[in-house]
């Protein structure tokens, strides 16, 4: 079964040939939430960037396919690819302060994409923006449209970016650590909002996070990454009840859990890391044949 987003055997490498993503495959169906978890440097954000065509310049797609809405993005010309991505996908970024332009009011930052890329009239875009701000539970949307980013709290700014991501009714949203910068109480509100918007709009959601606690609250399925390789792909409940890969189990045991202070926060053992490194090495040898 291929989903709405289907990544197949995607390999991304530095110019030196050093692989960053190693034959990554994953599917996200419409209306489903798929989590990407792993430690820093595991390549979880890079998958999102590869899909959106925003990989850093030093990185290149070596092989693989990225199917979005029935089209292989990597077979399109750069212009056609941008158009396809712009019409079907959107991003909820990590840091709401750097993602918003500090010198522009909120209103135009939401409507610009609708007007410039999708060719809406200014009035329609304006009306849609107000409707969306209301949908993400922002009180007094007219006033917020005229505000500058610095006048709003972190939670408020993240709500605006969520509204903006859903503005053009994308079929796929990539959320890259959307709550890492927020307090737990605000995080809860924002996760609740993302889940509500996602199920209301039936969007496919790719959710990048390092927090397994968050995964267990919002995802239907997940992939565990290490050094750009998918070690385990699982349905959410199965993963938390019976993690198959030893690294997954170690990651779960390392996650801080206040209800279980003794059996949580355990260091990942050297043996597990060595076994995973070996697995990655074997993959590279197979791939080079």
């Amino acid at each position: 079964m291929s989903g709405y987003l289907s990544v197949r055997n995607l390999t991304v490498a530095l110019q030196t040939g050093e692989p960053i993503l190693r034959s990554v495959s994953l599917n996200v169906a419409a209306g489903q939430v798929h989590g990407l978890v792993g430690e820093s440097g595991a390549g979880k954000s890079m998958i999102g960037k590869a899909v959106l065509g925003t990989l850093p310049r030093a990185l290149h797609v070596i092989s693989g396919e990225i199917w979005l809405d029935g089209v292989d993005l990597l077979k399109l010309s750069p212009a056609a690819r941008r158009k396809q991505i712009g019409a079907t996908a959107a991003l909820i970024p990590q840091d709401p302060l750097t993602a918003l332009n500090p010198s522009k009011r909120i209103g135009p930052q939401i409507t610009r994409r609708l007007v410039d890329i999708l060719g809406w009239s200014k009035q329609n875009a304006q009306a849609r923006a107000l409707e969306l701000l209301d949908e993400v539970h922002i009180p007094n949307p007219e006033r917020v449209m005229r505000s500058y980013p610095h006048e709003l709290s972190g939670g408020m700014r993240q709500r605006i970016l969520i509204a903006s991501a859903f503005a053009a009714e994308p079929k796929l949203i990539i959320a890259d650590e959307p709550t890492t910068a927020l307090d737990v109480t605000v995080q809860k509100q924002i996760l609740r909002l993302i889940a509500e918007m996602q199920s209301h709009h039936g969007t496919a959601l790719l959710f990048v996070t390092h927090d397994l606690g968050v995964v267990s609250k919002v995802c239907d399925s997940l992939s565990v990454l290490y050094a750009g390789k998918v070690l385990e792909e699982a349905r959410m409940h199965r993963f938390f009840m019976h993690p198959v890969h030893p690294y997954s189990a170690a990651l779960l045991a390392a996650t801080p859990t206040y209800t279980n202070p003794i059996d949580s926060l355990l260091p990942v053992s050297e043996t597990v890391i060595e076994a995973v490194e070996q697995e990655v090495l074997e993959h590279d040898i197979r791939a080079s044949r």
Binding site: V215, S216, M241, T257, Y258, S264
Partner: protein, 265 residues
């Protein structure tokens, strides 16, 4: 007692509301805090962003001067000591910073970084002391020749810890020291810190927004909200029967890695 803090007030000038002429209005950050840190205690200080937890830490180390109340360190009133008087005291209370990348000088080798405060306080036989500190945080002594960028996040934070313990202080303040680390290195750094506290008989204040980490490490917890203590108590008791509404809200908001947790997303 390591610390006795009574009715601590601290306000800072609010530059966002500074008029063109006239006095700058002040914003009250700490609104009358009282608590003790007994010898050997590991005190967790928890709160959301803007709750005043880092300001409290900085006041305890006298990096900021309180505007009211009293701070006693080992029975000595340090509330309004000047820099000269504090210099003799500073080696007894040290700090570990949140982001090791920005708190370790990128142009100095690890050995030089750890030796810095030792030299400042006139300690002799520096190389031996540096090696000893590295050894205590579980890093090979060859790391003294390396630069911070050559180390992983967890190793860098160990260097931060080595620098703080090298002077053999009585008290260490750790401000969000694991929030930038991956879960696997988080566990290692926390275990190391717990061991050092026990071996050296240190007292520790551990500032964090992560209640799960606090529960693992701390013997007592203090919950801050908008510059006031909303709850203080022994760790197990506070986690098992939280009293303040804010504590309950904070606990309920933590997403546990358990799909059956009632969290209603």
């Amino acid at each position: 007692m390591i610390y006795e803090i009574r009715d601590l007030h601290l306000s800072l000038p609010d530059m966002t509301r500074k008029p063109l002429l006239g006095a700058t209005p002040r914003i009250e950050i700490l609104k009358g805090l009282s608590f003790d840190v007994p010898k050997g205690a590991v005190l967790g200080i928890v709160g959301g962003s803007g709750s005043g937890k880092s300001t409290l830490g900085r006041a305890m180390l006298r990096l900021l001067e309180p505007t009211g109340g009293q701070i006693k360190f080992k029975g000595i009133d340090i509330t309004h000591m000047n820099e000269n008087q504090l210099r003799g005291m500073r080696q007894q209370f040290q700090m570990i910073f949140q982001d090791p990348m920005s708190s370790l000088n990128p142009r100095r080798r690890v050995g030089g970084i750890i030796a810095g405060p030792l030299r400042l306080h006139g300690v002799e036989n520096l190389p031996a002391k540096v090696n000893e500190a590295l050894d205590m945080v579980g890093l090979p002594t060859t790391f003294a020749r390396r630069y911070p960028h050559e180390l992983s996040g967890g190793q860098r934070q160990r260097v931060g810890i080595a620098r703080a313990i090298a002077l053999r202080p009585d008290f260490i303040l750790a401000d969000e020291i694991v929030s930038g680390l991956d879960v696997s290195s988080q566990a290692q750094v926390l275990n190391l810190l717990a061991d050092l506290v026990r071996e050296l008989g240190l007292s520790l204040a551990f500032i964090s927004h992560d209640l799960s980490v606090i529960r693992r490490l701390c013997s007592r917890v203090l919950i801050l909200h908008k510059g006031e203590i909303v709850e203080e108590g022994e760790t197990t008791e506070l986690f098992e029967s939280p009293k303040a509404a804010y504590t309950k809200e904070l606990l309920a908001a933590i997403p546990l890695p358990d799909p059956y947790q009632k969290w209603d997303v």
